[in-house]
């Protein structure tokens, strides 16, 4: 059975490293893997989506509505925006950080309130955490992506050492220590 992980966020938040880490790890675990990214216009502070799919044989590079086993969201509003992609009984791992989109910045709309409660009310399994604080604790606000990967790792039967090895292979050596710390903080260890 193909498993689907959707990574959503705001352009510039570092979702490409998260998908690189997952792709690398899952390939090492012997799965067929496809990772689909967005480039160009959609990166400029816009809403961005990356699809990671793995299993015995993966065909489509994208995830469609009602198909995601996991939505990993770098930002609260983006988790709500892509809720339709979540499978029944799927899980949302979400950073509670709020980044105002332009209609909110200009005052044309309000940033939606109580989003976590609203997501939970739909029956979704929601795992919400303040990744930005944990990333800063690890040493850099940019480590939000690895904090999220740490939290996501709790839901996989892949030994911790394998995740750590994948981090070593995917991030520059000078940031390894910071990222390992961020990963463990996200994982809650």
């Amino acid at each position: 059975m193909t498993k689907n992980i959707m990574i959503v966020g705001v352009g510039g938040q570092g979702s490409l490293l998260a998908s690189k880490l997952l792709g690398h790890l899952l390939l090492t675990e012997g799965y067929d893997v496809k990772v689909s990214e967005v480039h160009g216009m959609s990166q400029r502070g816009g809403s961005v989506v990356t699809y990671v799919r793995f299993g015995e044989k993966v065909y489509s590079p994208i995830i469609d509505k009602g198909q995601a086993d996991f939505i990993v969201s770098f930002e609260k509003l983006e988790a709500a925006r892509y809720l339709e992609y979540l499978k029944k009984d799927g899980r949302i791992v979400v950073n509670t950080q709020e980044i105002d989109p332009m209609p909110v910045v200009t005052g044309a709309m309000e940033y939606p309130k109580d989003l976590i409660a609203k997501l939970e009310a739909t029956g979704a399994n929601v795992d919400a955490m303040d990744c930005l604080t944990l990333a800063n604790e690890a040493g850099s606000a940019k480590a939000v992506n690895i904090v999220l990967m740490g939290r996501l790792s709790k839901y996989f039967d892949i030994p911790l050492e394998k995740w750590q090895k994948a981090i070593d292979e995917c991030v520059p050596a000078k940031f390894a220590e910071l990222n390992h710390k961020a990963f463990l903080l996200g994982r809650g260890e």
Partner: protein, 574 residues
């Protein structure tokens, strides 16, 4: 070794393994990474050309000289390169020549959704269409063999989902073919009427031979399953079809999209009860099947616009799709925006303030059309800002000349703005052209260009002096402004619009995302001084928002450009 590769990276790997020696391209999403990845191989000479036409002619020259060559572009780039394409179909090649064209169904980053397959048909050259990274690598290698065996350039067509998806590939070593001898051959390579007349029948014979090949070749294959349903498909649509139907359908997967086979399709059709054609955009395979007398389901059920997906195909063909939940309330959209500190912002603010009519162009600065700036009236294609401005001014006269401008980026200006500028210099309209020189090709992810002084590898290169170029064309008034300085922008734009002669303004400040650009300390808003006038909000800067009636600066985004500070009459931004 198995590894995950982006489709574009696998394409570049194919170029490397096949012994491609010369690459010339112009960047364009979703094709850019093919050339960027190829440039990482020391064995391949790579360059960014000023535009796709130049790139294709460079690749043709390298092929003529005897080395395998390549040029890459997005779908609209092939419009620019169509001129050499149609005639190098007649001349054929010496060493193999491959053209990558990357379509953008769904228009993730494009101004239109044209289907490049029409070009292969019109130019009468073979076109291959891989459906994942492994095929991209393998098709490129085989495309060189086709090119040399059939004496033709070969187009390998990518699309956003193949170009920008990673899937598993296996790599091998590079094999560099011997350089082909160059022999003068006027009948083959000089396309004047007497020679071209003899070459056209050659092209028709070549297409007939390629069609015979299409009947039984590596690129086209049948996957038998339940014979109740037969699907003819290609590219990413093949992946969606397999996702939805698995073995519950027979699939004819076409990797060679031009020319299309006949017997292969008729034999396949004879084995299945119902025939469905799955292809994004135009009904090209469908029309071909109809000409063969087949009854098919295609665009009568499936959309001609936008991308496909597994759910879309399932739904249209009567397969159940998964249920999902959604929130009732409407979420605020998050469209792409100009970055905090973007040098274009101050200029567009000034144009909006002066109520200018702005004829725009292709690049990040097209985002100047987005609210609250809304400072753009038109965007068509690369270079159209300048030529259209001339036409606009010729039609409306002085009234328009005093308030209408063209805005065009440095790279777009080099691509096809220069010829439009030559027209203004020659045919004389009192037009005001603004070149937004941010010292890089921004939107496609920071590629060098002829005005930056660096080549694709980041090494020092020739640098075109924009001021000198414009003056040499005959523009007496060429002025440089700093878009971070609103007073200067306002004054110079007013002065140049008022002048009774054509003029060029160069708005110069490097892209705020460039690594060498030093940022100032972020600004803060003093809530005691902020009177909630919202003047600063007119900039549409993502770093400024209103919280509890006061402006707030997001310190993680602000780069201290200070443009907002110039708008605050109360000194609240400090």
């Amino acid at each position: 070794m198995k590894q995950l590769m982006l489709g574009n990276q696998a394409f570049a790997r194919g170029l490397y393994e096949a012994g491609c020696s010369v690459v010339s391209s112009y960047p364009g999403t979703p094709s850019t990474e093919v050339t960027e990845e190829a440039a990482k191989f020391e064995e391949i000479y790579c360059e960014w050309a000023p535009n796709e036409k130049v790139a294709m002619e460079v690749a043709f020259g390298a092929s003529l000289a005897g080395r395998r060559s390549f040029c890459g572009m997005k779908h609209v780039g092939l419009n620019v390169a169509a001129d050499p394409l149609f005639t190098c179909s007649y001349t054929g090649v010496n060493a193999g020549m491959i053209i990558c064209v990357a379509d953008d169904a769904g228009m993730h980053s494009s101004q239109n959704e044209q289907d490049s397959r029409h070009y292969a048909i019109a130019a009468k050259v073979p076109m291959l269409e891989p459906s994942d990274s492994a095929e991209a690598l393998e098709f490129v290698k085989r495309a060189y063999e086709l090119s040399e065996e059939y004496d033709t350039p070969v187009i390998v067509k990518m699309c956003t989902r193949v170009a920008h998806s990673q899937s598993v590939v296996e790599t091998t070593d590079r094999v560099l073919p011997e350089m082909k001898p160059y022999e003068k051959n006027i009948a083959k390579y000089v396309m004047m009427p007497g020679n071209a007349i003899k070459k056209h029948p050659f092209v028709e014979e070549r297409t007939a031979k390629l069609q015979a090949l299409a009947e039984d070749c590596y690129f086209n294959r049948v996957e038998m399953g339940d014979t109740k349903l037969g699907i003819i498909t290609s590219s990413t649509s093949y992946q969606y079809a397999k996702e939805v139907f698995g073995d519950n359908a027979c699939i004819l997967k076409l990797g060679m999209i031009h020319p299309l086979p006949k017997k292969l399709i008729l034999d396949f059709a004879a084995k299945v009860e119902k025939l469905v054609i799955l292809e994004e955009l135009d009904p090209i395979i469908e029309e071909h099947c109809k000409e063969l007398g087949l009854v098919v389901t295609g665009k009568d059920v499936l959309p001609i616009t936008g991308e496909f997906s597994q759910n879309l195909i399932a739904e249209k063909l009567g397969v159940e799709v998964p249920a999902y939940s959604k929130l009732e309330e409407q979420m605020p959209a998050r469209p792409p925006v100009m970055c905090a500190g973007c040098p274009h912002r101050g200029l567009f603010y000034t144009l909006a303030k002066n109520k200018c009519t702005v004829l725009g162009d292709i690049g990040c600065y097209t985002l100047g059309a987005v609210a609250p700036l809304s400072a753009m009236d038109m965007t068509l294609c690369m270079g159209a800002s300048i030529s259209s401005l001339h036409g606009f001014n010729k039609a409306r006269g002085e009234e328009s000349e005093k308030k209408t401008v063209a805005v065009i980026g440095d790279s777009t200006f080099m691509h096809s703005g220069m010829t439009g500028l030559a027209n203004i210099a020659y045919n004389q309209s009192n037009s005001t052209v603004i070149i937004l020189d941010n010292s890089i090709t921004g939107m496609t992810g920071h590629q060098q260009n002829p005005t930056t002084g660096y080549n694709i590898k980041g090494d020092p290169a020739g640098k075109i002096d924009l001021e000198a170029l414009c003056r040499a064309m005959g523009f007496e008034s060429v002025r440089v402004i700093d878009p971070y300085n609103l007073e200067e922008c306002d004054r110079v734009i007013k002065e140049e619009l008022a002048k009774e002669l054509p003029s060029v303004i160069i708005s110069r400040r490097p892209c705020a995302l460039l690594k060498y650009v030093k940022h100032e300390a972020p600004l803060k808003c003093n809530p005691e001084k902020c009177v909630s006038c919202k003047s600063c909000m007119r900039l549409g800067c993502p770093a400024i928002s209103m919280k509890d009636g006061k402006a707030v600066v997001d310190v993680t985004l602000c780069v201290g450009c200070g443009v907002c500070k110039q708008l605050c009459k109360f000194g609240a931004l400090e």
